[in-house]
């Protein structure tokens, strides 16, 4: 039955070559920790992706309870942490995942850097990777405000003050982020929510797709 469904789809879309290419591609010896233990450094990229998946899933579930509104944001977070079964764990995964993803990303970046793996022909993928790095930091910064506790509020205020000091466009930049030239409040929270939940994840998905397609096309860099 399953085989028939697969054949029916394959007849029309010809998916076999796509996933056979992924499944059957050769993994060289030098990245395989079974042959060289030091190859564990190649795990960091995969682990970064794994934590990103955890972040996406836990974030999706958290929005079932979270409200981006200054009256209710803190209450809803407090409620989901204290009243909802496993809410503490899911928020914990999202909170600590944010830190772990930065750690893994740093290790991955350093691995690529010190191996000089960004050299021709992989310049583009390095640049996509650096953009991913910025997107992740942006997600960390915007996500910080969402629980609407003191830590969130004051750290964001500092961040916005820094944006304000940018020459020429500072004021506009701050207003664009905060939604109001003077108040860090209701409009700031909804903006940060939208950026955190829609805009940056969209950029993240697009960049991740390019990152992976490029790896698949170019193959992993050879041994030093």
């Amino acid at each position: 039955m399953l085989q028939k469904i697969y054949d029916w789809i394959d007849d029309r879309v010809d998916i076999t070559p796509i996933w056979r290419d992924i499944a059957d591609h050769e993994v060289p010896e030098h990245v395989n920790p079974a042959h060289h233990f030091s190859a564990f450094v190649y795990c960091f990229g995969g682990l970064t992706f794994f934590v990103v998946v955890i972040q996406i899933l836990s974030g999706m579930f958290l929005t079932m309870y979270y409200v981006p509104d200054i009256e209710n944001a803190w209450r809803s977070v407090h409620y989901l942490q204290t009243e909802v079964a496993h809410g503490q764990i899911v928020r914990g995964m999202h909170h600590w995942g944010a830190s772990v993803v930065v750690v893994m990303l740093l290790l991955h970046t350093l691995r690529v850097f010190f191996q000089g793996a960004y050299k021709k022909p992989r310049e583009l993928n390095w640049m996509v990777g650096v953009l991913l790095f910025f997107v992740i930091l942006g997600l960390g910064f915007t996500g910080y405000l969402l629980p609407w506790d003191n830590k969130a509020f004051f750290a964001t205020q500092v961040g916005l003050e820094i944006a304000q000091q940018v020459p020429f466009i500072g004021e506009e930049l701050k207003t664009l982020l905060a939604g109001d030239p003077n108040i860090v409040g209701a409009q700031t929270l909804t903006r940060f929510f939208a950026i955190h939940v829609f805009f940056l994840p969209a950029a993240l998905f697009a960049l991740l797709a390019v990152h992976f397609i490029l790896i698949r096309r170019q193959g992993i860099s050879g041994p030093l």
Binding site: L57, F61, M64, Y65, R75, S76, Y79, V84, A85, H86
Partner: protein, 170 residues
């Protein structure tokens, strides 16, 4: 030949292990999240306390009268006062009856003698649904079930009402 056969089994073994490890990871990630998501389904519905609706039993007649009262409603992190309404009267046996005004058809508000054409009946204006005085739906009108009944209790001569229940459960 035998060597080739062995290679296939090795691949299958690895595939099973891969599925197992993948399942473990998926479960480890998803179990807390799914448990959180289904939490409202598993919550025991709080058996509502009886609330004094501010109506003395002596004032209840055989003519249905509208009673409004407020209950504290806790909805997750949001607490509010919710208005509730009942039609209260004494039936022919002298027992107190308290009907929910929510039409069992599509949830409109049912009024006693809401239509001049149908005296002595509850009437729903949305689709002309009708109920007899004992709350059963008039056959041939849209509602398919009788009006819900509030649990009631009399304490110190005052009427206390609880949750509205459909007749099937009551």
């Amino acid at each position: 030949m035998s060597e080739k056969k062995q290679q296939v089994t090795r691949r299958q073994f690895l595939n099973y292990t891969l599925t197992g490890v993948g399942g473990f990871m998926a479960a480890g990630m998803l179990i807390p999240m799914l448990r959180m998501a289904v939490d409202p389904v598993l919550q025991e519905s709080g058996a509502g306390d009886m609330v004094n609706v501010g109506l003395s039993v002596d004032d209840i007649t055989d003519e249905p009268q509208r009673v409004d009262w407020n209950v504290e409603q806790v909805d997750g992190w949001h607490e509010s006062e919710v208005n509730q309404t009942a039609w209260v009267f004494t039936d022919e046996n002298g027992d107190i009856q308290a009907f929910s005004p929510i039409c069992t058809h599509l949830g409109c508000f049912v009024s006693w003698e809401g239509s001049d054409d149908h005296p002595n009946e509850f009437f729903c204006p949305c689709h002309d649904g009708r109920y007899y005085k004992d709350g059963t739906n008039v056959p041939g009108t849209p509602p398919l079930a009788p009006l819900d009944v509030y649990e009631h209790e009399v304490r110190d001569g005052m009427l206390f009402l609880g949750q509205a229940k459909s007749r099937g459960e009551a």
